[in-house]
């Protein structure tokens, strides 16, 4: 019984791992192919089944038939990083406020404000493109990093608020009350007592901000002309009508790399039980 259970367990884990890895393995082998390798069908092993080539990888670093992604890589890091940071700071403050105090304006209550934050993610981005375009135009921020950061804050702030409200709701109020008895103001309470206990929540919120920011394609795409390119936009520039499977595969692998490091960081906290309070 026990062995059967173990066998099923490992089998399930193995199956899912294959599913997760499958597209990556395929991308790895495809990234070394040429057109003939691709039309040759579902081959996996270089030299034996197809003639490998480095063309796909070279094209990502200014080689012929490609695009240089180092500039966009840096832009992506700047935009995602700053927008996430600002969102986390403001989101955490707002979430703490929503979790600890009562706000009231007419019929609007705390729950409504929280919902307002979250509801910003419901709107399909497609139609917002034009008004955002006009807005940034008015501000003179079209095709700039600052403009993108501004728009990304609108995308990421709701996530930060959502995660942190949940988190603070699970931090015992006694902590606050004890601090107040000690004579702290709400601000110092937040700064000295609550924040140091909030690292797990911040990790989760930060991770989601980074993921959604890094992977956004649409706004990075519509709100820039030529100066400010982010990584997904630069990669999609390779998606021609004659799809170069090889360079697209290589670029997919390369764009994932930094976030895989993030997965390791998150897992560390997870294993230490550090995320415990983050979602409860």
């Amino acid at each position: 019984m026990k062995t059967l259970y173990l066998a099923i367990k490992y089998l399930a884990i193995l199956l899912w791992s294959c599913f997760v890895l499958f597209p990556f393995l395929w991308a790895v082998t495809t990234s070394f192919k040429t057109a003939n390798g691709v039309t040759g069908g579902a081959t996996w092993i270089p030299w034996l089944q197809y003639k490998p080539s480095l063309q796909g990888w070279q094209s990502l670093f200014g080689g012929s038939g490609g695009t240089d992604i180092s500039g966009p890589y840096l832009n992506s890091i700047i935009v995602t990083g700053s927008a996430s940071l600002i969102s986390i700071v403001m989101g955490t403050l707002a979430a703490y406020g929503l979790s600890r105090f009562t706000f009231r304006a007419g019929f609007i209550r705390n729950a409504d404000i929280t919902f307002f934050f979250i509801s910003q993610r419901i709107m399909p981005p497609i139609v917002l493109a034009i008004p955002f375009f006009l807005l940034l135009d008015q501000l003179g921020l079209l095709d700039t990093l600052a403009g993108l950061i501004l728009v990304y804050i609108a995308l990421l702030l709701p996530i930060a608020v959502w995660v942190m409200v949940d988190f603070f709701n699970n931090v015992p109020r006694q902590l606050d009350e004890m601090a107040w008895l000690d004579g702290c103001t709400p601000l110092t309470t937040f700064y000295r007592v609550i924040l140091p206990n909030s690292v797990p929540g911040l990790i989760v919120a930060g991770m989601f901000c980074l993921i959604f920011g890094w992977n956004d394609f649409f706004f990075a795409f519509t709100l820039t002309f030529t100066d400010t390119q982010l990584l997904p936009v630069a990669i999609v520039a390779l998606n021609s009508s004659v799809t170069p499977w090889w360079s697209l595969s290589a670029s997919a692998l390369i764009s994932v790399a930094p976030l895989i490091l993030l997965a390791f960081v998150v897992e560390r906290f997870l294993s230490r039980g550090g995320l415990a309070g983050a979602v409860r």
Binding site: T226, A237, S240, S241, V242
Partner: protein
């Protein structure tokens, strides 16, 4: 800058001494380091452009994704920048998003891009925002050498709005090695009671495709199929469908509109000729490779160019793919004008007319073009760039690189020697290729794209209707009736007169022959 000049001189010296001052090098400078064989004189030659100084100025260019058109855009931008000192910024956009990326700045009054590379059929929407090509550029040797048809693609209301740098047309591609194989011919005769010939009509095309589907006729161990076509919705499928329907719906003696009746602006899209075209398109899917009904242009190229399918029709790309140096089917491919129809719908008499010699229709389907924005403050530099892009030396180079997607568009390109000598194509193949292109370009019964405001709206509803029929969600008649209804509403919304005025431009060129 100075060290650059020094380096350049050093390179020239080295090159000339190595070549022993090669014959024919008329200019003082050697530009072969740009990857061209030799500079060719003219208003936009390397030498002329080198003489200009645009340093300190920025030129912004929007173009298609890499490699098709996007790669030559980038390559010539870098060269232009090096020659003139201008800062040229290029942005690459996938085809599906190119239209809106150009349109949003236009509509919001932004001076975002100086130079635009896009699909020529969008002229109906873009023309108010484009600068006319100045006289002096129209009189360059390159412009003068445009074929009549490609020149017509650039014209709008008597003005040249598009700077032609590519010529595109749909034609039939097939595997000569199979068609000429006696075993294959015998097998075909046995199955159909008819000799195996290159299809003259779409009925024949479907029949040949069906017989050569589902078995391994090239002996590589994998099954082969009859036809690869662009059927994926919103991925240029409308173009493939129009190619198939045109000979049935475009009567050579009936002018006054192909998509609409120019007088009444009633859609013709659901008349019996179009419906016949769609029936045959739907029927053809039995001869597609697996997944063929979801094939985009890239899939069609890999399928035919990779040797999986017997026939295909669309732009040059699949042919070029098949002709790659390491391709297993190099020189096994031949071209022919698209099949025609023996029964043609005459919308004036409301009857089917019979043609002994199949009626064909040359569908001049969109193709790439370039233009300069009206709002650009760098028009001088922009036209110089485009002129440089398509100067004789660059064009000759670009034509040889398949993935660039630059296809013959000047009379001088219809030269079999070029294709056989410079690219090493089989002589017979090169001759047939040139003959095919010439025949299409000079063909009397022509159809142009629907270049009217809102062409995107007409084509997406057409594609949606055709996709429904192909997927079996509606009969061809039902599907096209639905499209016609939507077209009527769209015309209503845009304004009948506005659409008619634009469409008249197209019909005028169509009926000119």
């Amino acid at each position: 800058m100075r060290s650059d000049k020094l380096l350049r001189t050093a390179k020239v010296l080295a090159a000339s001494s190595a070549l022993g001052l090669a014959a024919g090098m008329a200019s003082a400078e050697d530009y072969t380091r740009f990857g061209i064989e030799k500079d060719m004189p003219g208003m936009c030659s390397y030498e002329s452009i080198d003489a200009k100084d645009y340093s300190g100025r920025e030129l912004t260019v929007i173009t298609h994704a890499i490699p098709v058109i996007g790669e030559p855009t980038k390559l010539h931008a870098e060269q232009f920048s090096e020659l003139t000192g201008a800062d040229v910024e290029v942005v690459h956009v996938p085809f599906g998003d190119l239209f809106q990326r150009i349109m949003i700045p236009f509509q919001t009054g932004q001076d975002a891009y100086d130079v635009l590379f896009y699909a020529s059929l969008w002229l109906g929407d873009y023309n108010p925002y484009l600068a006319n090509v100045p006289e002096e550029y129209q009189s360059t040797a390159g412009m003068q050498a445009l074929t009549d048809t490609t020149r017509d693609v650039g014209m709008w209301g008597g003005e040249m709005k598009q700077y032609i740098m590519d010529g595109d047309r749909h034609y039939l591609k097939y595997r000569e090695d199979i068609f000429s194989d006696p075993d294959m011919q015998a097998r075909f005769l046995e199955e159909t009671g008819r000799e195996l010939t290159v299809p003259e009509t779409w009925e024949e095309y479907n029949e040949v495709a069906r017989v050569f589907t589902g078995w391994d006729w090239d002996g590589d161990g994998d099954p082969n199929y009859g036809s690869a076509e662009v059927v994926k919705r919103d991925d240029l499928m409308f173009s493939a469908f129009i190619s198939r329907a045109a000979p049935y719906a475009k009567h050579p003696d009936v002018g006054g509109g192909f998509f609409f009746d120019l007088e009444t602006m009633e859609p013709l899209i659901n008349n019996p000729g179009w419906v016949r075209g769609l029936e045959l398109f739907v029927e053809a899917q039995e001869s597609f490779p697996p997944g063929g009904t979801n094939f985009g242009l890239g899939d069609e190229i890999f399928s035919f160019g990779g040797g999986e399918t017997l026939m295909s029709y669309s732009w040059d790309d699949a042919l070029i793919q098949a002709q790659q140096a390491d391709s297993p089917i190099r020189n096994d491919v031949r071209t022919q004008m698209l099949p025609g129809a023996r029964e043609v719908w005459n919308r004036e008499t409301g009857e089917w007319d019979t043609f002994e010699e199949p009626n064909r229709a040359a569908y001049i389907t969109w193709g790439w073009t370039s233009a300069v924005a009206q709002s650009s403050s760098n028009k001088d530099m922009a036209f110089d760039y485009l002129c440089f892009f398509s100067n004789e030396a660059n064009t000759r180079h670009d034509l040889q690189v398949g993935r660039f997607g630059v296809n013959p568009y000047r009379t001088g390109h219809f030269d079999a020697d070029f294709w056989s000598d410079d690219l090493g194509w089989d002589r017979g193949m090169a001759e047939q290729y040139v003959e095919t292109l010439e025949r299409i370009d000079g063909y009397d019964n022509r159809v142009f794209d629907l270049r009217v405001p809102g062409v995107g709206q007409f084509m997406t509803s057409l594609a949606a209707g055709v996709a429904e029929a192909v997927a079996g969600q509606a009969t061809p008649q039902e599907a096209l009736d639905g499209v016609a209804e939507e077209w009527s509403r769209t015309v209503e919304r845009i304004g009948k007169d506005r659409v008619r005025e634009a469409y008249a431009n197209v019909v005028e060129i169509e009926d000119a022959r």
